[in-house]
Symmetry: C2
Subunit: 208 residues, 2 copies
DNA sequence: ACAAAAGTGTTTCCTTTACACCCATGT
DNA sequence: ACATGGGTGTAAAGGAAACACTTTTGT
């Protein structure tokens, strides 16, 4: 019984997922979604949090259960059921070269290698969930730093959806949701400084 | 590792769920969601199908994974992770008095007793999922008999959502989706006979 | 003829989309 | 002064919601 966690972030302008190079068989040297075996005394959610923190001390992360995979032949070592989660991490919280020697790496989701086990399928499902929730929830919160401009938020939406959005319509929609509060203003940019916003604390990520 | 399956149907004008009275501890005599232990050689989906068929030979049922529950204290016997599914069964496929001596019973979801384990929580989540998917999918298929009138379909929607729907708007929406084909006409009713429809085979239940 | 449910269109409102120019700043 | 992204409004189209009467059958 394992918990595998898709850790998504925006890295260098790509929606990316954190993967680990396996150091032992099966599928030695292939990349895989980070996971842990569930301990006897912890919940699935706790196991997911542990999976995240052992791969880099990340906090303030959005975490949601995704799906459970249990084909009997999915792991050659024997019967291993995987409960998958997905997590969102703001770009400013990550360290780009996790681990130093490339045992842990960020991959743009559009350029994934063949992964260990059924992990390609898990990643695909995670991306699908992320896209569909973007339309009807404020899940993008999880990928943004504490404070950000509307243009930055829009870029995040565009990266996940893979399409451009009209600037005026985007701003109309976001402001109509009443999720944001002004927190200041950019300084030192070589252009007009943007107003910065953060998410209102009393508005949780909503739905499902 | 168990798979528990919420089996929903419309029974006597109520959205209802099939529950089993437990014959042994823990929670002896309380009602619980039917489930099975996952065998070493079967997938989770297969275990879910098995759970359904052992509690009454049901076929042509809609089955979807719901959520996995894994609090370490959720079962006093030890560590039991439950992968829950939900299934939809048309009313004409069920037998109203399953088992005969009330070990298996249909409960309207609005009148649930206190259930064994964390099963109240599982049922709540299932109802929520059913409601939310009704809005953007053709999931109601699963609760309808082979052939039905638009009014019957509307009643199913209303039962699940718990609110009335305007007849003309409902029919406009359904017909615009182009999911149905005419299959005949009611006979022998003491009123104007309704046109009967079935779902087109090439249109699968869509989304998520 | 009456009861009971089936069936049918139009208008209003709101949401979504398309679209182009001026503004504030740093260099 | 110019380059760069920030910021703003309006009109048209499409989808959702409100609303009431006629039709067909069995008794």
């Amino acid at each position: 019984m394992t918990v595998d966690v898709l850790i998504f972030s925006i890295v260098g302008g790509d929606l990316s997922v954190l993967l680990i190079r396996r150091s032992s068989p099966p599928h030695q040297k292939m990349f895989a979604v980070p996971g842990v075996f569930v301990q006897m005394d912890e919940s699935l959610d706790e196991a997911a949090s542990r999976a995240i923190s052992t791969k880099g001390g990340l906090s303030r992360i959005y975490l949601e259960q995704l799906y459970s995979f249990g084909r009997p032949d999915r792991d050659s070592r024997g019967r291993v059921v995987s409960v998958s989660y997905f997590a969102l991490v703001p770009e400013d919280k990550i360290t780009r070269d996790e681990g130093g020697e490339h045992v842990v790496r960020w991959f743009p989701v559009m350029k994934l290698p063949k992964l260990a086990f059924d992990h390609n399928q898990i990643v695909e499902m995670g991306i699908g969930r992320l896209r569909s929730k973007l339309a009807y929830s404020s899940i993008a919160v999880g990928l943004m730093p504490k404070s950000f401009s509307l243009s930055e938020l829009q870029r995040t939406y565009e990266l996940i959806l893979g399409e451009t959005i009209d600037k005026r319509n985007f701003r109309k929609k976001i402001t109509s949701l009443d999720l944001l509060q002004e927190t200041g203003r950019e300084v030192g940019k070589r252009r007009r400084p943007a107003v910065l916003y953060s998410f209102k604390k009393d508005k949780p990520v909503f739905f499902d």
